[in-house]
């Protein structure tokens, strides 16, 4: 316990340099702006910043990415409150009550609630990140090939189930992601798969350009497809958070912080589900549920606390299991690998202080959003007024340059374009993109788990089903999948008693 606190203190001190503080300020600002701009998501922001920070020392690069991530999830609430357009999918729940408050002339108070909720949510998640990571890291050491196979599959299935409105399409997107991960030389015999003789494809799809395409370029195509209506900003009062709001809704903050963190830990679920789950729980617990959707402070506090608590929560499985808890965390994990950090069960053995470095980065990111929450409103409104035809081409230039910057090859630009077109088409057809990303990230782990497990068991599938942790995981997967079918749900539904 005290060792952890000392390590955390060291990590905090190590980032208290002018260079690091400058990066924190700059990247939190970039994150808040990306989050606030409708159509630009946290995943896209983290992916673009990964390409920018490729040549930086690893600690500083990850600091930039975490500040961008936290900033973007927070920034989404600004446009949700002021424009009734969620800046990121995570802030869709904040639209309901945030904009209703704005229409009542309380936009400043709503932004203050969003700031206090986001800060306290991040701090709650951060506390659990520090507390759970070493414990889960120890537990993860008990995981073998069989367990990792099921855990990775669990991540894709859960992401497919929860991140879109249609689980079947979510699972299909996940499977397509897994297939994309199997392109290139396989790990055991270095045999080329689906490369069609291309040397570039032999290395497989580089994850970052693929993500820049699936989230960045696809979002730009969506933005180009939809008509941009003139922006109308509501007038606002003071944005300073009120202690009275925090004191009055402390139960909501604690509950939403716990729900958000838990949703973050679940592989692939992400901030939007965390926000909606916290919102629904707050509505159920509220004495005034009828006010939800009409300007409920309770509702806004719940949504904002939940989505920001999810950010540190989503990093817990990254560090302990090498499995991302959300789409932006998947990009963050890819960035860690690029920078030579190997997240997973061995992290507490190989780099025990790294976990506390991440907690310290999270702490600085929280200070960043608090600072910008108090000061940035007018600047942000000016950014929101920049017309779409100006923003879209600039972001596209960054997508192209960022994809090229990873390995200095044009092939990655084509990968970005290809995944952009696929991501756009899938979205238009109502397929969620997050499971595709999870599939791409976890496909390799799944294949290695399956092949390694089969080698260890001499071709027997038995251990995949009989080992205790494996059994829990596969039964959970089966239950999650089956419960999405009406026929199965009907079996558990209470039938009305026939009238006497």
């Amino acid at each position: 316990m005290f060792d952890g606190l000392v390590a955390f203190g060291h990590s905090l001190a190590s980032f208290a340099t002018p260079m690091s503080l400058g990066l924190i300020l700059a990247s939190s600002l970039v994150g808040v702006i990306i989050g606030a701009l409708p159509g630009l998501t946290a995943t896209m922001g983290v992916a673009l910043m990964t390409t920018l920070t490729i040549k930086m020392p690893s600690a500083q690069a990850l600091l930039v990415l975490i500040c961008t991530y936290v900033g973007a999830i927070y920034g989404g609430s600004r446009s949700a409150i002021l424009l009734n357009i969620p800046g990121t999918p995570a802030s869709a729940a904040a639209c309901l009550d945030g904009h209703a408050l704005a229409k009542q002339g309380l936009a400043g108070r709503a932004m203050g609630i969003a700031t206090s909720g986001s800060v306290l949510g991040t701090l709650t998640g951060m506390f659990f990140l520090a507390l759970f990571t070493p414990v889960l890291g120890d537990l993860a050491l008990k995981f073998g090939a069989y367990e990792f196979f099921w855990l990775a599959l669990f991540g894709v299935v859960i992401a497919g189930t929860l991140t879109g409105g249609d689980p079947l399409k979510g699972w299909i997107a996940g499977v397509i992601g897994i297939l994309c991960a199997s392109v290139g030389q396989e790990a055991v015999y270095a045999h080329d798969r689906f490369t069609f003789g291309s040397r570039d494809l032999a290395g497989g799809f580089n994850l970052v350009p693929a993500l820049v395409g699936a989230f960045g370029f696809a979002e730009l195509l969506m933005a180009a497809r939809e008509r941009a209506l003139p922006v109308k900003v509501n007038p606002f009062d003071s944005v300073i958070p009120r202690l009275a709001d925090v004191a009055r809704y402390w139960k909501t903050i604690v509950r939403s912080g716990l729900i958000g963190t838990f949703m973050g830990i679940l592989p692939g679920v992400g901030e939007d589900v965390a926000a909606w789950s916290s919102y629904a729980a707050a509505k159920r617990a509220s004495k005034e549920p009828e006010k939800f959707g009409k300007g409920s402070i309770d509702g806004l506090m719940a949504a904002e606390t939940g989505d920001n608590a999810c950010v540190p929560g989503a990093i817990i499985p990254v560090l302990t299991l090498g499995i991302p808890g959300s789409a932006p965390a998947a990009v963050l994990m890819a960035a860690m690998l690029i920078h030579g950090v190997r997240p997973g069960p061995m992290i507490m053995t190989e780099a025990p202080t790294f976990v506390y470095d991440v907690v310290a980065m999270m702490m600085y990111a929280t200070l960043g959003i608090l600072l910008y929450g108090l000061t940035l409103t007018n600047v942000l409104i000016k950014v929101l007024m920049v017309p779409k035809p100006v923003i879209v081409p600039i972001i596209f230039v960054l997508c192209v340059v960022g994809s090229f910057a990873i390995a200095s090859r044009l092939f990655d630009v084509w990968v970005m374009l290809g995944f952009g077109v696929v991501g756009y088409t899938l979205r238009r057809l109502d397929y969620p993109v997050a499971p595709l990303v999870l599939g791409m990230v976890l496909g390799d782990l799944m294949e290695k788990g399956l092949r390694r497990g089969l080698v260890l068991s001499d071709g027997s599938l038995g251990p995949f089903f009989t080992r205790p942790i494996s059994a829990v995981l596969w039964i959970t997967i089966v239950v999650v999948v089956l419960l999405k079918f009406d026929v199965v749900r009907g079996l558990f539904r209470r039938r009305p008693r026939p009238a006497a």
Partner: protein
């Protein structure tokens, strides 16, 4: 997995479902034909085609499930029944122009001999001018051709300069 209104028309779902079934089947066949590496001592369960074969099969099965569901939905509500998406789309030619500009810049504008700063400035300026003008014509923006041209040139030059300087000088990244 039922209950309307459905966000996508059953016909679209059926079409994509057939694509998934065909793609999944093609992957299963390709995986089956893949080199088994038996000369290197591989068994069936370590053969390179095992995993993509399993995943291809899963895709074909899920595609089949989607096809079946779209047939059920079509019987319930009709082939083209879809809930309104609550969005206003721009005319297709305008979207095609945007997509065309993206592709021309990424495929022909960078890494093909033209200096990066020049192609970037031209792309951004063209995009800003054409779409500001298009927005003005439908009443979504105000201003004049001349004003938009000035804005377009300023955006193009500024983007090219800032991106070149930031990536090359600050982050030491090679540009295409």
């Amino acid at each position: 997995m039922s209950g309307g209104p459905y966000p996508v028309a059953p016909r679209s779902d059926l079409n994509t479902a057939l694509v998934w079934v065909a793609l999944g089947a093609a992957i299963v066949v390709a995986s089956w034909r893949m080199e088994r590496m038996t000369a290197q001592g591989a068994d069936l369960y370590t053969a390179p085609g095992l995993w993509p074969g399993v995943v291809g099969l899963a895709l074909a099965l899920l595609g089949g499930l989607l096809a079946w569901r779209s047939l059920v939905r079509a019987r319930e509500a009709g082939w083209d029944a879809a809930a309104p998406r609550g969005e206003t789309l721009v005319p297709t030619p305008r979207f095609a122009l945007a997509a065309g500009l993206f592709l021309v810049y990424a495929l022909l504008g960078v890494g093909r001999g033209l200096p990066f700063w020049l192609s970037t400035a031209l792309f951004v300026a063209a995009f800003v001018f054409l779409f500001r003008r298009a927005n003005r014509k439908v009443g979504d923006a105000t201003g004049s051709d001349r004003g938009d041209a000035v804005l377009a040139v300023v955006c193009g030059v500024a983007t090219a300069a800032v991106v070149t300087l930031v990536f090359e000088q600050l982050f030491f990244v090679r540009l295409p």
